[in-house]
């Protein structure tokens, strides 16, 4: 479930990044690479889990699935927060800088 949610997040962000290309000011490429990196890593984790447990790896009870769903959503939220911090630090449209210095954006 966590892998699925992260893959959906990665695909969605990649589509938005592609639609906005070549404008890279919103750092969407960074966000999509973060989600793709996590998706690849959870995929390997799933393959190792399948090799160890076999088909029972996919048979989760409702409580486990619900926990994985919360985890997946929390992971996406954390990824978005990290991206937001990067965006605020880089401040491509100089919004934060102009707020702090009190100057108007040109």
């Amino acid at each position: 479930m966590t892998l699925l949610i992260t893959v959906f997040a990665a695909v969605t962000v990649t589509i938005i990044w592609y639609k906005n290309a070549p404008d890279t000011s919103m750092q969407l490429g960074t966000l999509s690479l973060m989600f793709w990196g996590a998706s690849i890593m959870w995929f390997v984790d799933a393959v190792v889990g399948y090799m160890e447990e076999g088909a029972s790896f996919f048979m989760q009870d409702a409580a486990e699935m619900l926990n994985d769903l919360y985890l997946g959503l929390s992971v996406v939220a954390l990824g978005l927060i990290i991206w937001l911090v990067i965006l605020m630090i880089k401040d491509p449209h100089r919004v934060i800088r102009s707020l702090i210095t009190g100057t108007n954006r040109q």
């Binding site: 966590t2 992260t6 490429g29 960074t30 690479l33 973060m34 989600f35 793709w36 990196g37 996590a38 998706s39 690849i40 890593m41 959870w42 995929f43 390997v44 984790d45 393959v47 190792v48 985890l71 929390s74 992971v75 954390l78 990824g79 990290i82």
Partner: protein, 130 residues
């Protein structure tokens, strides 16, 4: 258990490499001016860094969620419970597998960008010949 530590370690190495290569490329850029714009290798290494750091950070969060990483020494429950051998075995299989697959996929991205850049060079040399 602690599989995310392997790609995180790779990320440290590739980040240092990116910084060194970027400073070298800045020196080279001031000497050479290419007519066809190419993506710098340091920028391409940045793609790998973002995948490794992002993936490791999100996986670390998952380990905290499952109680495998704790905020007190020794920080890993596997070490606290005397399962260090199992943890190292997992790092050797899943952790190394993660780092290798991410790097392989990045290699594929490098190959694709190389093909696209060469196509761009061919088109611009054809245009120059006309």
């Amino acid at each position: 258990m602690a599989c995310f530590l392997v790609p995180a370690s790779e990320a440290v190495i590739t980040t240092v490499a990116e910084k060194i290569i970027r400073s070298k490329e800045k020196n080279d850029d001031s000497n050479n001016a290419s007519s066809v714009p190419k993506v710098r290798f340091s920028d391409k290494l940045g793609w790998l860094n973002k995948m490794l750091w992002g993936g490791s950070a999100l996986l670390a969060f998952e380990h905290i969620w499952h109680g495998e990483v704790i905020p007190v020494f020794p920080f890993l429950t596997a070490v606290q419970n005397g399962e260090t051998g199992e943890m190292l075995a997992e790092m050797g299989t899943a952790g190394v597998g993660m780092a290798v697959l991410v790097t392989l996929i990045w290699g594929g991205m490098l190959a694709a960008s190389h093909v696209i850049e060469n196509r761009k060079v061919d088109i611009s040399s054809e245009e120059a010949g006309q």
